[in-house]
């Protein structure tokens, strides 16, 4: 039986020494690729165990480097005689700046809670399949009136929704909410349902998407349970159908819906409908249904203005319990104008990212995380652009990027440009060399190494290069 133990401080120190010698011997590139990921995990007698994150890295290091590691270690002390390389995937992610120490749960956008109270009646026919009947609708716990931020663009729709939620009898039938995508129609409908549930749990509220209505109907046709289907829908106190435009062109579903609609209106039961367009503008919808949909109150939701967007972000940031600088919220409210869903999604992404990497939420994080939203395309930087930008920055002639002159005043900027060409483009080193007046790829490698060294010793130079990188990337 073998018992492996943690290496003591002496062995750990020997290993550090071995690593330093490996680095000197094999060079920076090889060291970073293959030797740096090796971690000394365990020791048993004269055997040391080194872990790498992947299987083939183990095979590769084992074949190519393990013998040399053993030789070097033998020179450090007598204890270790053999070295074994093992796989430990958990060593995989090496985070910068210490990484995420704890793992705070990301609760940014939890799944909605299924509604437990008052499930819809189940179909009596056995043919409906497991759990037959209307699948329990789910209401999003965050979609309440309390969380709905009111502004000029949505105040009419909001007021109408509140009226419906607070009235025992339908004040207008149907309430028809419409507007562009992601402006809060679903949020208002869920709010109505939550509010009614709170005021009077005995009232039967059924919320579903038009797609689900259609699915239920087709299923009922297939299993010959249309009578039960009708019965269920006609026995609710409040029926809410989201995104009615999805039954456009589906004639028999529309017909069924038309009859359900009439039956409920006759009994003065409340109906709430949402769509992306006003009733008269809905395409592929029967004329008689369109006219019915416009009978009650038609309330539209307009695109948001800046103040409302800012208000929404503040409210969302509170829900996420995230420290968000006001500058960031202003920036998002200014930049992401398309709709509320994308606006909230953007904030959600930034907060989730910050939690993942264990860093605070900043404006810089936002630029980094949302570059796909903020920039129209992912244009690739070219070597020509890099040369031009660097030449301008250091005030030298563009021709000096290709010239043979070795004066420091032109040689250093040229090295910076080569360095950036390597960092920002996938071009091969020989190709970069060719672009700089037919230089060899070893010259490019030398330039990259030189700039790396300078950056690590001269912070102001490093900032300068970073500034150039940012200029080129945005």
């Amino acid at each position: 039986m073998t018992i492996w133990g943690r290496p003591d401080t002496m062995l750990a120190a020997q290993w550090t020494h071995v690593r330093a010698r490996l680095r000197a011997e094999f060079g920076e590139s090889t060291y970073n690729s293959w030797l740096k990921p090796l971690t000394l995990t365990e020791v048993q007698g004269d055997r040391a165990r080194l872990a790498v994150p992947t299987r083939f890295m183990r095979d590769w290091t084992d074949t190519n480097y393990a013998p040399r590691i053993r030789e070097l270690w033998a020179e450090e002390g007598d204890q270790i005689k053999s070295v074994e390389v093992i796989v430990e995937p958990s060593t995989a992610v090496a985070w910068p700046a210490g990484g995420p120490p704890a793992r705070p749960r990301i609760a940014a956008d939890p799944a909605p809670e299924p509604v437990a109270a008052d499930p819809a009646p189940t179909l009596s026919a056995g043919g409906a399949g497991p759990g037959g009947g209307i699948p329990t609708a789910s209401l999003d716990s965050r979609f309440t009136f309390a969380n709905f931020v009111v502004g000029r663009s949505n105040e009419l729709a909001h007021a109408a929704a509140r009226r419906v939620a607070e009235s025992k009898h339908a004040p207008f039938n149907p309430l028809f909410l419409y507007g562009g995508v992601g402006l809060g129609k679903t949020h208002l409908m869920h709010s109505i349902a939550w509010h009614i549930r709170e005021l009077d749990p005995s009232r039967r509220v059924l919320y579903m998407s038009a797609e689900k209505f259609m699915y239920q109907f087709i299923r009922a046709l297939r299993f010959k349970t249309t009578m039960d289907f009708k019965e269920q829908f006609r026995s609710v106190d409040v029926l809410m159908i989201d995104d009615i435009q999805f039954i456009a062109g589906k004639d028999s579903t529309q017909e069924e819906f038309f009859h359900t609609f009439n039956a409920l209106v006759d009994q003065n039961r409340q109906i709430v409908i949402s769509a992306d367009k006003s009733p008269s503008d809905l395409e592929g919808m029967e004329v008689r249904l369109k006219s019915r949909l416009g009978w009650g109150l038609v309330a539209d939701i307009h695109p948001t203005d800046y103040e409302l967007r800012l208000g929404i972000l503040q409210s969302k940031a509170e829900q996420l319990e995230a420290e968000t600088p006001s500058k960031l919220l202003e920036f998002l409210a200014h930049k992401i104008t398309s709709n509320v869903r994308e606006l909230e999604g953007a904030l959600n992404r930034i907060v989730a990212h910050a939690t993942l990497v264990g860093r605070p939420v900043t404006l810089e994080t936002a630029h980094e995380v949302l570059h796909d939203l903020l920039r129209a395309n992912d244009r690739r930087v070219t070597i020509d652009e890099i040369q031009k930008c660097v030449a301008e920055h250091y005030n030298i002639r563009l021709a000096d990027m290709h010239s043979a002159r070795r004066a420091r005043a032109v040689a250093r900027p040229r090295q910076v440009a080569m360095y950036l060409a390597k960092q920002l483009t996938p071009r091969s080193l020989p190709e970069i060399g060719r672009k700089f007046g037919g230089r060899d790829h070893t010259t490019v490698m030398h330039a990259v190494r030189r700039i790396d060294e300078l950056r690590s010793t001269d912070p102001s130079f490093s900032e300068d290069v970073e500034l150039l990188r940012r200029m080129l990337e945005t």
Binding site: T54, P96, I106, L356, D372
Partner: protein
């Protein structure tokens, strides 16, 4: 097909690609994507999009995730006739690769309903594509805004260490023995992209098989000149 004298006819046998979690190469450019995969089901939304250039490991990550989530894989074409409910009742997780392609109307509506239902049921979707979801050619506005709001994580350009490791892995998948010198030689001279690594290794594989010669630096130099990544 024409086999010239002295060259053996090469059968196009697909190499077995290692797609386990242990085979995935962690690197700065993919560490965030990998961290999200490892973190499932603690995700900030009902879905995640991973995007990046060809060969960067999107599919590999999807397979790593499938192993832990038991996700079903749905092709974009299958979205057209999919019943979202049946799909999600069987699997609480779904993978859609190449989700950035041009979908027809039915497929877009299919994905839209699948997304809504996943959100409602607390199921999860993993989408992959070459570009960011906000830039996919989605026509249905309801779907476009949902995709744009989805957490999306990019896999960036590989650094030198990753290119070397990718080369070693690709040679390993093809059971080709190469020396560390050859790897270094290639890494310093080829285009630094995942696609170039794959093409170069494929070309070397074919050459080694056809000529029955081991892959040495002179062979690597010749092949690099031919594939044009040098």
């Amino acid at each position: 097909m024409r086999a010239s004298a002295g060259r053996q006819l090469v059968l196009d046998l697909q190499p077995r690609t290692a797609l386990g979690r242990e085979d995935f190469l962690p690197a700065p450019c993919n560490q965030e994507a990998l961290a999200w995969i490892d973190r499932w089901p603690d995700w900030p939304a009902c879905g995640l999009a991973i995007w990046g250039p060809p060969g960067c490991g999107k599919s590999h990550l999807a397979q790593v995730w499938r192993a832990v989530s038991a996700a079903a894989e749905i092709t974009p074409a299958a979205l057209r006739t999919l019943s979202p409910r049946e799909a999600l009742v069987q699997n609480q997780a779904v993978i859609i690769e190449a989700a950035d392609g041009e979908f027809d109307d039915e497929a877009e509506v299919g994905l839209f309903h699948l997304y809504n239902l996943a959100r409602e049921l607390g199921a999860t979707l993993l989408l992959t594509g070459r570009g960011a979801p906000a830039r996919w050619p989605t026509r249905l506005p309801d779907l476009r805004s949902r995709l744009a709001a989805l957490p999306a994580v990019a896999i960036g350009h590989p650094d030198d260490a990753l290119i070397e490791a990718v080369l070693v892995k690709l040679f390993g998948d093809r059971q080709l023995a190469v020396s560390a010198d050859v790897i270094r030689f290639l890494q310093a001279r080829m285009e630094r992209s995942f696609a170039a690594a794959r093409q170069t290794v494929d070309a070397l594989d074919e050459r080694a098989l056809a000529s029955q010669r081991p892959i040495t630096i002179p062979v690597a130099r010749e092949v690099l000149a031919e594939v044009g990544h040098g």
